[in-house]
Amino acid sequence: MGCRRALTGRAVANLHCSFRCVAPGRRLLLIALLLAAALVACGTNNTPPEMSAVPAPDFSGHWEVNYGRSDSVQNQLNSTFREVQREMRRRREAAEKGAPYHGPGLGDVDTLFALASMAELVVEPALLEIDQDTQRIRIQRENSFALICALDTSGQDVNRLGRETCWWDGQQWHFVIQLPDGLNVAHRFTRSEDGNSLAQRTKLSDPGTGHDFVISQIFDRYDPAERGFSCIKTLSRGRVCTTEGVHRE
């Protein structure tokens, strides 16, 4: 997808212009070089970026979503559709004037709806429990699977159901899940300076639409002992919560 986007819009027009100025004998060589460069660029998409040597701050603890400071899926969807409408209007106006238009592709609007619905599912976990040490981070999400990244591995986990890639870039933890049908879910986690807030930015993309769906959530620290109940994982009954033995102010 990155490759496709890189070769759309104005960049393509400029490239086309420059290409016409090159002597015909060298065009073949140029084409070969461009193809090779494109292949290299696409090939490297599967390799996660290197882990930064900058030590990650401590993300450990319990976090709960702060709905007041987080995006709502509906608002994001409205905003995306306003953008789509603007884009359509620009295209129509350009067509009426007979001028070429090189804006981003619109893609399938149904797929965009589907991405928004998926976003609701993906960002559903309202509670996070993060364990972190010098070797790895584990982000356990309520009612979902944990995002785990170990510093001493390739950062890739591949199976028939999908590919998971992770890395620390010096400021943020990245987790990218690529599913076999093309759906791509990318999470980025950042911690505030004071360590009391955590931002999760989730981007969903699909080959069926040119628009990504991005949603940001802010999480605040909380102390599970002050919630009035506590939960433990058991082998026989799964997650068991109790109000007994919880410290109350």
């Binding site: 399938d108 149904d110 797929t111 709806f113 589907a114 991405l115 619905s117 998926m118 599912l121 993906v122 979902s144 699977f145 944990a146 785990i148 591949v158 199976n159 028939r160 159901l161 999908g162 899940i177 599913l179 076999p180 049908d181 759906l183 879910v185 699909d206 069926g208 082998l235 026989s236």
Partner: protein, 377 residues
């Protein structure tokens, strides 16, 4: 080896099985077997068989044959995959318990013990390697041999669960091991009573030779490919009495391990079954997805949301189950409970992995034996 390669291999195996035997959901069978050194049971071609009923005897075959079931080998292909290795380690301890149960149920053998290593503690050792295990397909390579070095037989056992509902208990896995007991019975009965008694005596002498090589080395002829008994010690040989006492102490250790493995089945069994069910569900979903993908390219397409949702749900479900099992397996790995045993008025606590505990215990018994006979430590 990547998961897809393993899956591919499993599918090839299943393909062979499906092509050769009638399949109805769960498939269990023996699909390859190799002969022994005596050449009296040589089957080298793939020969699938339906589930065999367990042959239950009227009583144990005489003379009583004790059997060691060695904790299974996790296989080579799991080494590079942390999650797979954790599951394999768990299976390597759960499955021998089921094999032991099948042998005990057959009511044809003496004491059947699960042990960390093959040894002369019993005349016969059953060793197995997990070749394929991905939740849906399980393939084991099982070798049965006796202490003289004779290979009784080697089998590849395979089980495929097509529906997750069939993987909610251990019945399918237990049935897999019936054939091992049946083949052992056939082999054991093919020997004369004298040959059977001789094997049991050889095992006793070999055990004694491990403790006191200087005393018992001459009793066994080691020049031929299989060990043979040259002569038997006198019944009233005092050293044999000491060996027997030490052997009984080793049985104590095995009993303690047996108890631990029983607890493991109770503790980890339900999670292991859940993992199997999830793996089957995902594998079936993926097959369905691949056929859907093929039809999409032919022009038929489903809704975008249902496509994305089913793809994400399958991935999420698989990860959740995998992580639950990994967590459990990590917690259990190498954390066998300390074994507390009392011997000669002293109490010993053995800690560490099962293998380490067993090695320590054997060293301890050897020291006691040497002390008793008055030799140098």
């Amino acid at each position: 080896m990547s998961l897809s390669a393993r899956r591919c291999r499993a599918l090839v195996i299943c393909g062979l099985m499906i092509g050769l035997i009638p399949v109805s959901g769960c498939t269990t069978g023996v699909f390859a077997s190799k002969g022994n050194q005596r050449g009296d049971e040589v089957v080298s071609t793939i020969s699938p068989a339906p589930v065999e009923p367990l042959m239950i005897g009227d009583g144990p075959l005489l003379p009583l044959l004790d059997v060691n079931v060695v904790i299974f080998d996790v296989g080579q292909d799991a080494a590079e995959d942390e999650a797979l290795m954790a599951v394999r380690k768990l299976e390597s301890r759960l499955l021998p318990g089921l094999l032991r149960e099948a042998l005990v149920r057959s009511d044809q053998w003496g004491a059947v013990r699960v042990v960390p290593n093959a040894s002369a503690l019993a005349p016969v050792n059953i060793q197995a390697t997990i070749l394929v295990s991905d939740g849906r397909d399980l393939t084991l390579d099982v070798r049965v041999s006796d202490v003289t070095g004779e290979e009784w037989f080697e089998l590849q056992l395979a089980e495929t669960q097509a529906q997750e509902t069939e993987a909610d208990n251990f019945a399918g896995l237990s049935n897999l091991f019936y054939v091992v007991s049946n083949r052992m019975r056939k082999h054991w009965l093919s020997r004369s009573e004298e040959q059977r008694a001789r094997l049991i005596s050889t095992a006793d002498i070999l055990y004694a030779r491990e403790l006191a090589p200087d005393v018992f080395a001459d009793y066994v002829d080691s020049t031929s490919p299989t060990l043979t008994l040259k002569r038997e010690p006198a019944k009233n040989e005092p050293m044999l009495g000491r060996v027997r006492r030490i052997k009984n102490q080793e049985y104590l250790f095995c009993d303690a391990i047996d108890e631990q493995l029983g607890n493991l089945l109770e503790l980890a069994g339900p999670t292991y079954l859940l993992w199997r069910q999830a793996a089957i569900e995902q594998a079936n979903w993926l097959d369905h997805y691949e056929s859907m993908a093929a039809s999409r390219t032919a022009g038929q397409s489903g809704g975008a949301f249902s496509r994305m949702q089913s793809s994400y749900a399958a991935y999420r479900s698989y990860r959740v189950q995998e992580q639950a099992l990994l967590e459990l397996a990590e917690a259990l790995e190498g954390e066998s409970e300390p074994v507390v045993l009392s011997v000669e008025d002293a109490v010993f606590t053995l800690e560490g992995t099962l293998e380490a505990q067993y090695a320590t215990w054997r060293e301890l018994l050897q020291e006691i034996f040497l002390l008793e006979r008055g030799g140098p430590l």
